[in-house]
């Protein structure tokens, strides 16, 4: 069906539609002071099985990340080109971890994908963190692959303290156009999970089994 006839049909249906009037809008949750946001973020992250580290100083980040990665016995990693703290990839290479490069996909798409199959750790820098749900917001683009928070068993997200917000709705209202500036944005709330088999919680179904969030002062 072509666009015009489809939309005309919908428009005509709306004319006879019997929709109730919505109730009046109630206000959003109030903003919280930064200290409260951090406390809330810690508790809520814990409930979704994510581990919060820090806050550490910018210079303390490589050490914190290396500690997490070696704790999981990972031998390889992929990292976003720009991270909120310097020196992370070189610190991981210094402890003997291999870096898996991300390239723009070529004709051989499947080979490109299979390169990500066995990466141990993925490191990203979050655009925001959401206290109420314990989430981090990742904005993908050049040098910021989606796969980094998806293919590895361990995902480490770095986030600066002043990027904490209360809920997704709060953050979305302050950043109304960000979703047009990127082909993909994802809000990550803890590790991949399922309850599909007898409702037993199972972590790491298709995405990472471990999510670590390193807060930066």
């Amino acid at each position: 069906m072509d666009r015009d006839s489809f939309l005309t049909r919908v428009g005509r249906a709306s004319l006879t539609s019997q929709l109730p009037d919505p109730a009046s809008l109630s206000a959003d949750l109030p903003e919280l002071p930064p200290a409260d946001l951090l406390i809330l973020f810690r508790t809520r992250s814990q409930t979704v099985n994510a581990v919060v580290h820090g806050p550490v100083t910018r210079h303390g980040v490589p050490r914190a990340v290396t500690g997490i990665a070696t704790g999981h016995d990972a031998s390889s990693f992929m990292a976003w080109d720009e991270l909120p703290a310097p020196g992370v990839p070189s610190a991981l290479q210094a402890v003997g971890m291999e870096r898996v490069d991300h390239l723009v996909p070529s004709e051989r798409r499947v080979d490109h994908n299979l390169g990500y199959r066995d990466v141990g750790v993925g490191i990203t820098g979050a655009e925001a963190a959401l206290a109420e749900s314990g989430s981090v917001v990742l904005v993908h683009g050049e040098g910021r692959p989606r796969m980094a928070s998806l293919a590895p068993d361990v995902h480490i997200a770095l986030v600066e303290l002043d990027r904490l917000d209360r809920t997704l709705a709060h953050w979305a209202r302050k950043n109304p156009t960000l979703i047009t500036e990127t082909a993909n944005l994802v809000v990550v709330t803890g590790p991949s999970r399922t309850g599909d088999i007898e409702q037993q919680l199972n972590l790491g179904v298709h995405g990472p089994r471990h999510v670590h969030i390193v807060m930066i002062k």
């Binding site: 709306s14 199972n202 995405g207």
Partner: protein, 466 residues
């Protein structure tokens, strides 16, 4: 679709089976999770009002929002297709797959895909189609249909699944959910990375940006929109909101109502294909906007059901769903919302009896995150079924006679005397344990008290009246 053609027939075949018990057990768990999450945030009530207002606003301006969405998505490099019905949608999807030489297709859970029976169509064309949501993957391996919109294999036990994996995937038998999860992960990981195209549904489209939002907990919704060259999204035409911040509000209520989570694990916002320097993401993004009976719903008395965000809370709250299970509804969309959507999309024939599969207790409306007036619409559909003469003769004439009797005091008094006399033949100790004829169903699980010899009115006249 199941064999018996009536809800009652399907339900009777299921009640008391291990499938129905498993559903009941699983659903209680969802209810508890939801209650916990609601207790924690009193503001949820306010959030529900906002979500309702957002959804109703979108439905009022649906043609305008869809047009804007299409413009924005095209500006971002995506493609928009318009499907009047299921056959249209299937054809558009298979044409895209054909043109892009896609043979290996991975899917994330999509109710619309079930609605248009896409898998059978693609498989008939020789394509290799894999469902990747763990529950849907299991259902697909078993050759079964999902029984709950959030938990597709709520009706299967771990032993069932262990035996299935051993049989179909050639792995040693285990009934440990953790091992079963590892097996599925390893198997599907290869499938994801080698796939040519990913097919998903759309939880929510954002008109102002041309974005689609996909919500998953497992991450399959992200993998199928990241690894393959082509992404096709199937979108029911009502699944749209105006702005990104509106989507955020609805997403928060969705997760809380569905599984008691504050947000689902992955809220994936896609605005067109991979941009030039992006290291991953699809080369092509196609959104197929599907009507398939929705304009008919929009034009009528049950338009409000289109505000539904598919959280499944009404299924979990419904005593009928909990007793009979999702398969009893015979349709992709089960439970209270399904009893309105199914006859709306596919017509009253043969679905007129679904609105009767309800006790009208109102639990569905109470838990609905967008406060849809489900019982009211069930009654409207019942009325429609009766006025179209679809009820069985005994019920149709019975109800008409009952109505005529109750409005006339002398007829009512006469009827009561007869009822007292006649029930004397079958009652024991003041209770009727088995009624004959159509009443048999009523007494199969409960006793009916025998009508009193004397009505309250008569008693009052004799004892207190003066």
């Amino acid at each position: 679709m199941s064999q018996p053609v009536t809800f009652l027939g399907r339900a009777e075949a299921l009640i008391g089976t291990h499938e129905a018990d498993a559903v009941d057990h699983g659903v209680r768990n969802f209810l508890e999770l939801r209650e916990k999450s609601v207790e924690e945030l009193p503001a949820l009530e306010g959030l529900r009002d906002r979500a309702r207002a957002i959804r109703l606003h979108a439905l009022r301006h649906l043609d305008r929002l869809l047009a804007h969405f299409a413009d924005q998505l095209q500006a971002a490099g995506g493609h928009v297709h318009w499907a009047a019905d299921a056959a249209d949608a299937r054809q558009i999807a298979s044409d895209i797959l054909d043109r892009t030489e896609s043979r290996r297709v991975v899917k994330s859970k999509s109710m619309v895909s079930e609605e248009i029976e896409l898998n059978a169509h693609l498989e008939a064309l020789g394509l290799d189609v894999t469902e990747t949501d763990l529950g849907e993957f299991i259902a697909q391996l078993a050759g079964d249909t999902p029984s709950h919109i959030i938990a597709p294999v709520l009706h299967m036990t771990r032993e069932d699944i262990g035996a299935l994996f051993a049989d179909k995937l050639g792995v040693p038998y285990t009934d440990d959910p953790f091992q079963l999860n590892r097996i599925a992960r390893a198997h599907l990981r290869e499938v994801f990375l080698r796939a040519d195209a990913g097919i998903s549904g759309v939880n929510m489209a954002v008109a102002e940006s041309g974005s689609i939002v996909l919500v998953t907990n497992e991450g399959n919704g992200r993998l199928i929109t990241t690894a393959p060259r082509v992404h096709i999204a199937l979108m029911g035409m009502e699944r749209i909101v105006s702005r990104w911040e509106d989507a955020a509000v609805v997403l928060e209520t969705l997760a809380r109502s569905a599984t008691g989570q504050r947000l689902s694990v992955y809220t994936n916002v896609i605005t067109g294909p991979r941009r030039e320097d992006d290291p991953d993401g699809p080369e092509e993004v196609h959104v197929i906007i599907i009507d398939n009976g929705r304009t008919r719903i929009l034009a009528g008395e049950t338009a409000e059901i289109l505000a539904c965000i598919r959280c499944g809370a009404c299924l979990n709250a419904c005593p009928v769903f909990r007793t009979a299970g999702g398969h009893a509804y015979g349709s992709v969309y089960s439970g209270p919302f399904g009893s309105i959507v199914t006859p709306g999309l596919h017509g009253m024939d043969p679905w007129w009896d679904l609105p009767f599969a309800s006790t009208l207790c109102g639990a569905c409306e109470e838990v609905c995150p967008v406060r849809i007036q489900i019982p009211k619409m069930l009654l409207q559909l019942r009325q429609q079924a009766a006025s179209e003469g679809r009820l069985p003769g005994w019920l149709q004439t019975g109800i008409v006679r009952y109505a005529r009797t109750t409005v006339d005091p002398s007829r009512w008094a006469r009827a009561k005397r007869w009822a007292f006399r006649l029930t004397g033949l079958i009652a024991t100790g003041g209770w009727i344990r088995r009624m004959p004829g159509p009443g048999r169903g009523w007494t199969s699980s409960r006793d009916l008290p025998r009508p009193a010899k004397e009505s309250f009115n008569e008693w009052w006249r004799t004892n207190r009246g003066s």
